[in-house]
């Protein structure tokens, strides 16, 4: 990059500074309006504890599901080129751009009590996903997993498969090659994908509320609690916002080498 000089400096500098402010001011807002003196008390309330526990549980379960299902999916997607893969990729990536409320409605139509799969689950196993923690987890997975699949597929496509040939000549079978060569060599993609997936699952709001409802103790995660508090107890909403922002900042910090470092 060249150094900016003369009037160009202002032409670039002023809008750039405005852009930074656009993002920095809301963050300042949270910090300025933070009821610091009552922070401890707010954090101790059972409602906040419930929301934290639920958020951790649903986001971590979503990540586990994303790894268990998304890793095989990413491997398949990266293993060639075909129309079927393209269609599958579009379907899987959809939640990234889909308005989350639409995702929630779609989930309800599929897994709700009267949904295609939901009615069968209900009648056969007596399992109802809406208004349960499992439902909140499903919604979080639906929103978070595409990020994991996207990152891991990109990592696998960039991976030089000749290293697998080298490992094979050294006696390693396919499973061993995958575990000792492929996984360590795509680790940056796995880490980035997992972090993004988890962060998105943690922040999931609209799809969860639409599909799983907003019940304290079973589906009211931190973002939902935050939304509720905004109407009854704005101070609490600010506290919860601080928690969620802090987590996000930590995630970005962990991703910095891969996503934020200037190249």
């Amino acid at each position: 990059m060249t150094t900016l000089r003369g009037p160009v400096r202002w032409l670039i500098g002023v809008p750039a500074a405005a852009a930074v402010l656009l993002f920095a001011l809301p963050l300042f807002g949270i910090l300025l309006r933070m009821p610091w003196s009552r922070l401890g008390e707010q954090l101790m309330s059972p409602a906040v504890h419930d929301a934290m526990r639920l958020s951790l549980l649903s986001s971590c379960s979503a990540l586990a599901l994303a790894v268990a299902l998304g890793l095989p999916l990413a491997i398949w997607l990266a293993s060639g080129r075909s129309a079927l893969r393209t269609v599958a990729r579009i379907i899987v990536m959809l939640p990234i751009v889909l308005p989350p409320v639409v995702g929630g409605i779609a989930l309800l139509l599929a897994f709700g009590r009267a949904g295609i799969v939901g009615s069968w689950l209900d009648s056969t196993f007596g399992v109802t996903l809406p208004f349960s923690t499992a439902g909140a987890t499903l919604a979080a997975t639906y929103i978070g997993m595409p990020f994991f699949v996207l990152a891991v597929e990109a990592g696998l496509r960039a991976f030089d498969r000749r290293y697998l040939a080298a490992a094979a000549t050294l006696g390693a079978g396919p499973v061993r090659r995958f575990v000792t060569v492929t996984l360590p060599m795509i680790r940056p993609s796995l880490q980035a994908g997992a972090l993004l997936c988890w962060a998105r699952a943690l922040g999931e709001f609209c799809a969860t509320q639409t599909f799983a409802g907003n019940l304290q103790g079973s589906t009211r995660t931190l973002p939902l609690a935050c939304g509720v508090a905004m109407e009854s107890d704005p101070e609490l909403a600010i506290v919860l916002s601080l928690i969620l922002s802090s987590v996000s900042i930590v995630v970005l910090f962990l991703l910095r080498q891969r996503w934020l470092a200037p190249r």
Partner: protein, 350 residues
């Protein structure tokens, strides 16, 4: 256990058809231009490319005999492969790269690391055990790759351009060490190279590959001195001399002495390009430091050139045009004056 090859396969625009036997304890150099099929041949032997038809067998073990027969996977062939790009695992230290094979074979962790360390010391990079491949020099990486191939107790060795990533100064030492490791290995040894000097220094036999086919194969000295085509002559048709060097004079094995420039003292290997040897009807004047008269033993056509085989203490081959043969009235049994500039003799420590 001999390695027996009857390889037929198609790869992009290349049709590979190769028949070759490599005896245990023998080093065969596959020499050819880029795209001649050298690496594909190694891949077929290692099990990384299946045959369309033919046979790859090591002793009684048939690795591949076409699509209808059972295919032995690369991980079961126990071939020690050194890839052209080395392919050292970038996330593992030199030590862990070498220990990979033994670990896979079920050797315990401590023991595998000890074994790997032993091999690193043996190939001369014992002090780089903890380094990641990205921190190694070209020569060091090459040595680690060699150790990784050897530490796995392979049944055969396949080396793809084993000296390619090394600068000139490291090359000499690495070539010498590589020769020692090849000699110490009991199974069949196959190496791919495009460099005649490497082939001469490392191999017992040469097979020249052109567009997927072996155009000439045989003992190194024979191939280098009697190339049957222009392609072979251009690739490996050099004069190779072994001898002792002292004070700028090279005493050639079997008699004869040449003045050389900038040569190390001691045992050496020297090459002279056939086109660097000038032939005259009468004793030439001028600066060449080496002038002698020799009998013409044979005249051989090699493409659009004629190779003039000289007798006497320095049995060199000169390459001239058919026109020059006519002008010099050269004939078998006749005598010519030979001139060779000292600077045209390339000398390497042997």
């Amino acid at each position: 256990m001999n390695l027996e090859l009857d390889v037929h396969l198609r790869r992009a625009s290349l049709q590979l058809d190769v028949q070759l036997t490599v005896a245990a304890g023998d080093t065969v150099a596959i020499v050819g231009r880029h795209g001649a099929g050298k690496s594909s041949l190694l891949a077929a032997i290692a099990g990384l490319l299946p045959l369309e038809r033919g046979r790859v067998a090591l002793g009684a073990q048939v690795f591949d005999a076409g699509p209808a027969a059972p295919f032995v996977l690369p991980e079961a062939r126990r071939a020690g492969v050194m890839f052209q790009d080395l392919l050292l695992f970038p996330h593992r230290s030199a030590l862990d790269n070498v220990a990979f094979g033994p670990r896979v074979r079920g050797v315990g962790r401590e023991q595998a690391l000890a074994l790997a360390n032993e091999w690193l010391v043996r190939v001369g990079v014992g002090d780089r055990a903890q380094a990641l491949p990205s921190a190694l020099s070209g020569g060091q990486a090459q040595r680690v790759a060699l150790a990784r191939a050897l530490a796995n107790e392979p049944q055969l060795l396949l080396l793809d351009e084993p000296l390619s990533a090394v600068d000139a100064s490291a090359r000499l030492a690495l070539r010498r060490d590589l020769r020692a490791h090849l000699d110490a290995f009991a199974g069949p040894r196959l190496l791919v190279t495009h460099d005649a000097v490497d082939a001469f220094a490392l191999a017992d036999r040469i097979a020249v590959l052109e567009a997927g086919r072996i155009v000439q194969a045989g003992p190194v000295a024979e191939i280098c001195s009697r190339p049957r085509s222009r392609y072979v002559a251009d690739l490996v048709g050099l004069n190779f001399l072994r001898g002792e060097c002292a004070a700028g004079r090279l005493r050639v094995e079997g008699g004869g002495e040449l003045v050389v420039s900038q040569a190390p003292d001691g045992a050496v290997l020297a090459t002279v390009h056939p086109r660097a040897i000038a032939l005259y009807r009468s004793r030439p004047d001028g600066t060449p430091r080496n002038v002698w008269s020799a009998e013409i033993v044979a005249l051989e056509a090699a493409g659009d050139r004629v190779r003039v085989r000289l007798g006497g203490a320095l049995p060199l081959v000169a390459e001239v045009t058919p026109l020059a043969i006519a002008e010099l009235q050269l004939g078998v049994g006749g005598t010519v004056w030979v001139a060779l500039k000292a600077t045209e003799i390339a000398v390497f420590p042997a």
